[in-house]
């Protein structure tokens, strides 16, 4: 009997889990459309905009948490989920972007351009989203090979700017209750801070290990 590979179950399971937010909002919209209670407010378009925005940020946090978790727990195989969760972040970002372009601005590109230039609220959101596009494109194995590991990694550090831009965007969005934007800001600080701390630590440790040999 061939040995059962746990990844055959785990990966699809995580994939399905990542689809749940979209399934929920899709169902809610469908029920609302039919005149039933889908759990949305009197302003479903605003609900969708906020929902997809929040989930972009949440997926982004999960993506950023994978490396620190690997380092802390020693579960290196967590890396296998990173690309998938990262692409789900982008997927949520695309949904969020579409709600803005379509349902908020109705493809009035002039208005959109003005918004991007004039309003830091939109500028930050657009920046965060745009920086995710090259990451999504170069997420394939082929692109990693083409770019080479270290160059690929450098490009993918753009996600740090995306994360900061996303939190700034969220901060600009709220009217006066800054609790959640601050909480996400703190989370990003911890997740990026860990990387900084780890980089400094490995840099200072490296010579020591070299010399000890």
């Amino acid at each position: 009997m061939p040995k059962l590979n746990p990844w055959w179950i785990l990966k699809p399971a995580v994939f399905v889990a990542c689809l749940l937010p979209t399934a929920w909002i899709g169902r809610a919209l469908w029920l609302t459309y039919q005149g039933l209670d889908g759990g949305l407010s009197a302003n479903p378009i605003k609900d969708v905009t906020e929902f997809t925005g929040l989930w972009t940020l949440r997926f982004l946090m999960i993506t950023l948490a994978i490396t620190p978790l690997r380092r802390i727990t020693g579960l290196s195989s967590l890396i296998r989920f990173r690309r998938m969760v990262g692409l789900f972040t982008f997927f949520q970002g695309v949904l969020h972007w579409i709600t803005y372009i379509w349902l908020d601005q109705f493809f009035m590109w002039g208005e959109i351009a003005k918004d991007i230039v004039k309003r830091p609220f939109i500028t930050s959101g657009m920046l965060g989203f745009t920086l995710m596009i090259p990451l999504a494109i170069t997420s394939t194995r082929k692109w990693i090979a083409r770019l080479g590991g270290s160059r690929w990694q450098k490009i993918h550090r753009l996600i740090y700017i995306s994360a900061v831009a996303g939190v700034v965007h969220y901060y600009f969005f709220v009217k006066s209750d800054i609790f959640y934007p601050l909480a996400y800001g703190l989370l990003v600080t911890v997740l990026l801070g860990f990387r900084g701390w780890h980089a400094i630590r490995t840099r200072t440790l490296k010579p020591a290990t070299t010399y000890s040999r």
């Binding site: 009197a42 378009i45 609220f121 600009f172 009217k175 006066s176 209750d177």
Partner: protein, 320 residues
């Protein structure tokens, strides 16, 4: 050769648009009145009048009403900004279930002949209740059509008899941390309590300025500001202060809560103005609750005829 001549009519002779509308309004009103007079015994076909059995015309129902489709009570009572109950749109409906709008007292103070603390029933006793179907435009770029019931603020003010020195009227919302969860919050408090709003006296006595005590003919739901709430349909929704416990007449312009919170974003006047954007979003269009496409926002929320003259000479870009 055709030589084009300028208009013979000098610009001063052209009737301003608002007067035109007023005239049309006047003709409409006048014919209704005549209809009533003639009705005595004859029933004028197609002429519906608001005459009760007593012969007393029911207060001016209709004159300021929009004919647009009112938003459902369900939506009006479930999508609210009432930060005392929470910052989510569904928080007010959820957290106001045990709110007690009765008994209720209102303190009237400042430059007024009869400063006193009134029981609500006593304060509004004898004021004729009327219905007003008004548009409501939130500063967040969504809007509703709400059938209020209540009375013109002017009627209440004339009863309170402010002194001639009074130039503004200031309102305050109840402070009661036992009933308002957000007033118990000390970490990253969202606003300074109590919620304060204010109007210039001419704004407050404008026929459109209204005190609501009900919606759809029913008592005002707690989440909509029971028992007493200001409605100024030409201004952004946040001017419509809820659960009023204090009315103060003053000669100094009040600092309203949102102006105090973010003076670069919210001003004292808060007149609906599609030409002056909120720093973070455009005010040119709005989403009417229940509609898919956005619609253009109208100057003074479509009430320019009634209110524009109060702001002539005022720079609306500076006095947002």
């Amino acid at each position: 050769m055709l030589i084009q001549r300028g208009s013979d009519i000098s610009s001063s002779e052209i009737t301003p648009e608002n007067l035109c509308h007023n005239r049309r309004e006047f003709i409409k009103t006048a014919s209704t009145v005549l209809g009533i007079a003639a009705a005595g015994t004859i029933i004028v076909p197609g002429c519906t009048t608001n005459v009760e059995a007593t012969g007393e015309p029911q207060a001016k129902h209709g004159q300021y009403d929009t004919t647009e489709k009112p938003t459902s009570l369900d939506d009006i009572a479930s999508y609210n900004n009432y930060y005392e109950f929470g910052t989510g749109k569904d928080d007010p409906a959820r957290n106001s279930k045990n709110f007690k709008p009765k008994p209720w007292t209102v303190k009237v103070e400042g430059m007024v002949k009869k400063p006193a603390t009134y029981d609500l029933d006593e304060l509004i006793k004898g004021l004729t209740t009327e219905d007003r179907i008004y548009r409501m435009r939130c500063v967040e770029a969504w809007s509703m059509v709400i059938p209020w019931s209540g009375f013109p603020l002017a009627n209440l003010i004339s009863r309170l008899e402010p002194t001639p020195s009074a130039k503004f009227v200031e309102f305050k919302t109840l402070v009661d941390p036992n009933q308002y969860p957000e007033q118990r919050r000390s970490f990253l408090k969202v606003l300074d309590w109590p919620y304060v709003e204010g109007l210039r006296m001419d704004e407050a006595t404008n026929p459109l300025a209204f005190i609501a005590t009900g919606i759809y003919g029913k008592p005002l739901p707690n989440q909509n500001g029971a028992p007493l709430r200001l409605v100024t349909p030409w201004k952004y929704g946040f001017k419509g202060i809820k659960a009023i416990v204090n009315i103060r007449f003053t000669d100094k312009q009040p600092v309203n809560t949102w102006q105090q919170q973010a003076p670069q974003e919210y001003g004292f006047y808060a007149n609906v103005n599609p030409m002056v954007d909120h720093p973070r979003w455009s005010q040119a269009r709005e989403r009417r609750i229940g509609e898919f496409f956005k619609r253009p926002t109208l100057m003074f929320n479509g009430y320019a005829d009634q209110v524009a003259q109060m702001y002539s000479g005022l720079d609306l870009r500076k006095n947002y």
